[in-house]
């Protein structure tokens, strides 16, 4: 590194900065994501934690497009595109194929959206989790079928607007508690993360990589076109989702849950909901209902701890 290149003050360079997020890059800037896409940032951090001995399996989702059309690829690791319902099974197959070649170390990662995880891919995900297959499964959850143009999925929160839940009250169904379903599979490791806490996200991927068996990582992934937000709000919303208590950031290892980002004093959920076009029809009563459900889940958590 040349000192004093006019951008970095010399004294800082001399102090030999140790970045809190690894400076290695396995993702290239040539992806096809929308501005402010958290799924893109998440992949960048995930690969920093996973390293180059990784194979990605991606079912139909935004990332099918983001990765780039043939023969280009935005990731510096092997990538296998897979059918919508079969991310987990395809990943298990890749692991078996690598084993057959004598490769025991390469990490296979299924990388799916919420539609491919909560809905169409759930059977295959459950099978792989139940058999404790040696793969990491990641769900980047942007809370609707965004790639096809914003339709409701099992990950869509109650009353959110989507193209298939139009009208003033939005979806009348609550978000499926996928994490509870995964916990019931008693897998060795599961975690949640958002791009607002990159060190935490990278650490979770490096940690997951060291563990054998089925690992699940759930990322809340703001989507500006689908959430009707500005691209520069992605990190802020990721943080607010955590600080309001709507999205808990935690790890579960061998059945033991630990909050990774404690929230001693939760902000009102209204701060998170406001400014998101998908919630623009929310009445004060709707906001209150969300607040009530968040308060209840934290009370349950406190009870469990006690």
């Amino acid at each position: 590194m040349t000192e004093g290149n006019g951008r970095v003050p010399t004294d800082i360079v001399k102090r030999a900065i140790k970045p809190s997020v690894p400076s290695s890059e396995l993702m290239t800037p040539g992806h096809l994501a929308c501005q402010g896409c958290a799924a893109t940032l998440s992949m960048r951090y995930a690969l920093k934690g996973l390293g180059s001995e990784t194979v990605l399996v991606i079912p139909a989702c935004c990332w099918t497009v983001l990765a780039g059309p043939a023969p280009r690829s935005a990731v510096g690791v092997p990538l296998l595109h897979a059918p919508f319902a079969a991310a987990a099974a395809t990943a298990c197959g890749v692991k078996a194929g690598l084993r057959a070649r004598g490769d025991q170390t390469t990490q296979v990662v299924a990388w799916a959206g919420d539609g491919g995880t909560f809905d169409i891919g759930l059977q295959s995900l459950s099978g792989a989790a139940e058999r404790n297959e040696d793969i990491i499964y990641v769900c980047y959850d942007n809370e609707a079928y965004m790639n096809t143009g914003i339709q409701r999925s099992g990950g869509t929160p109650a009353h959110a607007w989507t193209m298939t839940t139009p009208g003033s009250s939005g979806s009348d169904l609550p978000k499926k508690d996928l994490d509870a379903i995964l916990r019931a599979h008693h897998i060795p490791y599961m975690a949640t993360a958002t791009v607002a806490y990159p060190e935490d996200m990278v650490r979770k991927f490096s940690k997951a990589r060291q563990i054998k068996g089925f690992r699940f990582i759930h990322i809340l992934s703001p989507c500006p076109p689908g959430w009707k937000t500005e691209p520069d709000q992605t990190v802020r919303l990721s943080r607010l989702a955590v600080q309001t208590g709507l999205f808990m950031v935690y790890e579960v290892e061998q059945g033991k849950m630990r909050l990774s980002v404690p929230v001693p004093k939760r902000k009102p959920v209204g701060e998170y909901l406001a400014g998101q076009g998908r919630f623009k029809n929310f009445t004060p009563a709707d906001v209150e209902a969300v607040q009530k459900s968040v308060d209840e889940s934290w009370a349950r958590l406190a009870d469990e701890k006690a």
Binding site: L80, T90, A96, G97
Partner: protein, 384 residues
């Protein structure tokens, strides 16, 4: 070494001799014993490959998509509803040009529930890009599984080895089990050039623009056509190594025949008995048993038929709104040719009904006398 084996075990034995790396499977009647046998051999330490249990046929084939892309030789078996459930993956694996081999044990599709043999399950996968081989004996099942790997790996297309539910799958026959070392010499290890490898990071299955997609499909069509020659070469090599030679079809007493039965699968064996019975009655009957449905051996068939010698095509399948599937394929294959004998179709034995020697003789006699309908297949049932 000769052993008495049921068709399902002959199929599994073929996969073991082919030294498959990965088996991923889900049970369904009447295929179940194929995967049970492999699980048992695995438990006994006689099978060195990986045996993966999954939660559905869709996942079984998805696992093979992953494993084959990582460079493994892959096997599975299914039947009927299971094959239908796999349908999406069949297109995927063929488009990805992966030489997966699968055994399908023919069984009718619901509704209503039916467990017995019927070719509608495999024939309805016609346009997925899989080669399809129809077997008439348990020996042929074992041999064809081994040959299928060599053919598939040469033309980079998956192959389906088909046998009749119960009629072959659960019937014991003497089977000569080839020597493992000689199978190794006949079938070298699978060594694909492009695989999932972190040292050379490649992307597989990424979005292709219309021009690229068109060219890829055209290349697939050319390789499917090329497969006809490869099947012949591999069948001849197999004959040299093991004493049993296979081709695109198996002609029985056809040289001087006045009319020819056209059959597939185990019905092909019954048809030989029907031909013998007709010959004893003084009729010049013959049987042409087709072994390969995809690629459809149109050129070979056109070269085989003779002017004015009618064909009696037996279909244990039916395309609603169309007619017998083999019947349609054969007519389409001959339409543009100079020699175009009359072709008659007979739909028989759907849902596992017996296709007896008597029924086949009746079809042959109707064909000889020109009493069968020409445009549409006749529905025929065994009277007993």
């Amino acid at each position: 070494m000769k052993k008495v084996l049921m068709g399902n075990h002959a199929a599994a034995m073929g996969a073991m001799l082919a030294k498959v790396d990965v088996v991923s499977a889900y049970p369904i009647t009447p295929q179940t014993q194929v995967v049970e046998f492999l699980a048992e051999q695995k438990a006994k330490g006689a099978f060195a490959g990986q045996y993966l249990k999954v939660e559905s046929e869709h996942s079984a084939m998805a696992e093979l998509l992953g494993a084959a892309t990582a460079g493994a030789r892959c096997f599975t078996a299914t039947s009927s509803q299971g094959l239908a459930y796999m349908h999406e993956l069949l297109h995927w694996v063929a488009g990805a040009r992966l030489p997966v081999v699968m055994v399908d044990v023919n069984r009718a599709l619901a509704a209503p529930w039916n467990l017995w043999t019927d070719q509608s399950d495999s024939l309805s996968q016609r346009d997925t890009g899989w080669m399809q081989f129809y077997c008439s004996t348990n020996q042929e099942v074992l041999d064809t599984v081994i040959m299928a790997y060599r053919i598939a790996e040469e033309v980079h297309l998956p192959a389906m080895v088909v046998l009749d539910g119960f009629t072959l799958s659960h019937t014991y026959e003497p089977v000569d089990i080839p020597d493992a070392e000689r199978v190794d010499a006949f079938l070298p290890r699978y060594a694909p050039s492009q695989i999932l490898d972190t040292k050379t990071p490649l992307s597989f299955g990424a979005l292709a623009q219309p021009k690229e997609y068109f060219r890829l499909r055209r290349r697939m069509a050319a390789d499917m056509k090329r497969a006809e020659d490869v099947i012949m070469t591999v069948g001849r090599d197999f004959g040299e190594s093991f004493g049993r030679r296979y081709g695109l079809f198996d002609a029985y007493r056809c040289d001087d025949a006045d009319a020819i039965l056209v059959t597939s699968g185990a019905v092909g064996c019954t048809a030989k008995a029907a031909v013998d019975a007709l010959r004893e009655k003084g009729y010049a009957a013959g049987n042409l048993r087709l072994r390969v449905f995809r690629p459809f051996p149109a050129d070979a068939l056109a070269a085989f038929v003779r002017p004015g010698i009618p064909l009696a095509v037996i279909d244990r399948d039916y395309s609603p709104g169309g007619t017998g599937i083999w019947f349609e394929e054969i007519k389409a294959a001959l339409y543009s040719r100079e020699v175009r004998p009359p072709v008659y179709g007979f739909i028989a034995g759907l849902g596992g009904g017996d296709i007896t020697s008597e029924l086949l003789q009746e079809a042959w006699l109707k064909t000889l006398s020109g009493r069968a309908a020409e445009a549409e297949a006749s529905w025929v049932e065994d009277a007993r």
